[in-house]
Symmetry: C2
């Protein structure tokens, strides 16, 4: 069966899904996006994804392409037309097509593109083996709390990680503190068994798994401390892990080639992954 | 006559000029661009534009879509098909279409889009009246020397200027020094009649007019000092101006609502504009 994409009101074959060369997403990175997991034919945690999307749009003064209800409908229709039960939905809204000029167009018409991709949960092997992380300088702009498509620095960070044989890059700010991964949030477990992850501010994106995990941890009696931690602190942590919509909870067992703790996934990380798996199985919260 | 665009090997009507939704320019801002002025049917200063384009591509490890010679040919052919004598050429190269993933694709195929737009020189009114500039914090990433399409912060800066009634925003770094405009380079004239503009480094783009003007100034016996200047220094300067491919040399007569000097375009700025006009009339250097 061929894939179907949604592009500005039309459901089209994926191969011919295209946007105009003067779409501001293409010329200015003037747009935002979300990646939503799909399980058993339903979106996982759609509501917090929608909340974040609306926040990103508001930060950039981009009008939503449609209401939340209409967007949920179109996303589900895209699933249906792709007969997708397990995988991800990608959606992007930009400030639309306009004669090239840096400032906002006078009458912007927000563009919306949605694609669906088949795929299962993260492989259990990642959970058994853990992954390596490389520390790189955070060279991004000052508004990383906006989920924009201005992702070039993230691309370069991810590529640096891969070329260094690692799965992900953790970006380190000018004061030596870890901000987040190139497409994931960063966590450590401190000596007291508490979770530590950076507080929400303009230097990091409010990850949906990051959000969900705070509640899951609390329900299991695991304390979460929101504060910045240094790269050195991460190297000396008893456990470390990363979270994202596609990676779930993934143990980090090496940083820059050196093992974290005994170099194996730790018990707190395993517990959190189990909790998240259960949450995912129930399709998260408020999911159309 | 309808406009023609070049898209990945084909000359197509501008209205239908499109790229795939998984072009990395659209999803990751993973691409670079140039804007080249056209005068009397020829490109102005094509060589330095090409030099800069090749530098930007190299910084991002993007393979050029074709040789310089072939690119020059395609640009001229685009002019010809548009019967364009006066205006601008816009060209964008991205890391091409690939299944969405932050890291570089294994077999990237660089995409190339070219559009042409009719237009004359900047209106003489701007030169007579000058323009206003607004100072805004520079919130961009650390590699502004790369002419990437990751332009969202520039979009926000330009929009802030317009909403404040100004023509351009001058971005100010964390130490209080002006970096550059959202789409222009920033210059002041100091008390001794010397030109001051920020030195080349990762905080600014090497503007082509900036480059050309240094030679033109030298030939006229005007000294150019490459150093960072503060926002306060700019406010107290005897003259200020900005440069870009589409603005040429444009006097800045107000900053944040306050006049520079007597609030009128100054003699050094006028002289430089005359020199640049002459350079442009001769179609710049090395222009196919």
């Amino acid at each position: 069966m061929s894939r179907i994409a949604y592009v500005n009101g039309l459901y089209v074959p994926f191969e011919s899904a295209a946007v105009h060369v003067e779409d501001r997403g293409y010329q200015f990175a003037d747009g935002v996006y979300e990646v939503i997991a799909v399980h058993k034919g339903r979106m996982v945690d759609a509501d917090p994804h929608f909340d974040r999307l609306w926040r990103s749009l508001a930060e950039l003064s981009i009008d939503p392409a449609m209401s939340r209800e209409a967007l949920a409908h179109v996303l589900l229709e895209t699933l249906r037309r792709n007969r997708l039960r397990e995988g991800i939905l990608y959606l992007q809204m930009t400030r639309g097509v306009a004669k090239r000029d840096h400032g906002f167009p006078k009458e912007p018409r927000t563009a919306l593109v949605i694609t669906a991709r088949r795929g299962g949960r993260p492989s259990p092997k990642g959970m058994e083996d853990g992954v390596e992380v490389l520390m790189v300088p955070d060279i991004r702009w000052d508004r990383c709390n906006i989920k924009s498509v201005s992702l070039l620095p993230n691309v370069l960070a991810k590529q640096a990680a891969r070329e260094g044989g690692a799965f992900e890059a953790w970006q380190v700010d000018k004061d030596g503190f870890v901000t987040e991964g190139s497409s994931t949030n960063a966590w450590i477990v401190d000596g007291d068994g508490n979770l530590v992850t950076r507080q929400l501010e303009s230097a990091i994106l409010s990850g949906i798994i990051r959000l969900v995990l705070q509640d899951l941890a609390a329900s299991a009696g695991i304390k979460v401390i929101e504060r910045a931690f240094t790269a050195d602190e991460a190297r000396d942590a008893s456990e470390a892990f990363l979270t994202s919509t596609t990676s779930f909870v993934l143990p980090v067992v090496r940083i820059d080639g050196e093992p974290i703790g005994d170099g194996l996934p730790g018990p707190v990380t395993k517990k959190l992954r189990e909790l998240y798996d259960g949450h995912f199985e129930g399709r998260g919260r408020n999911s159309p």
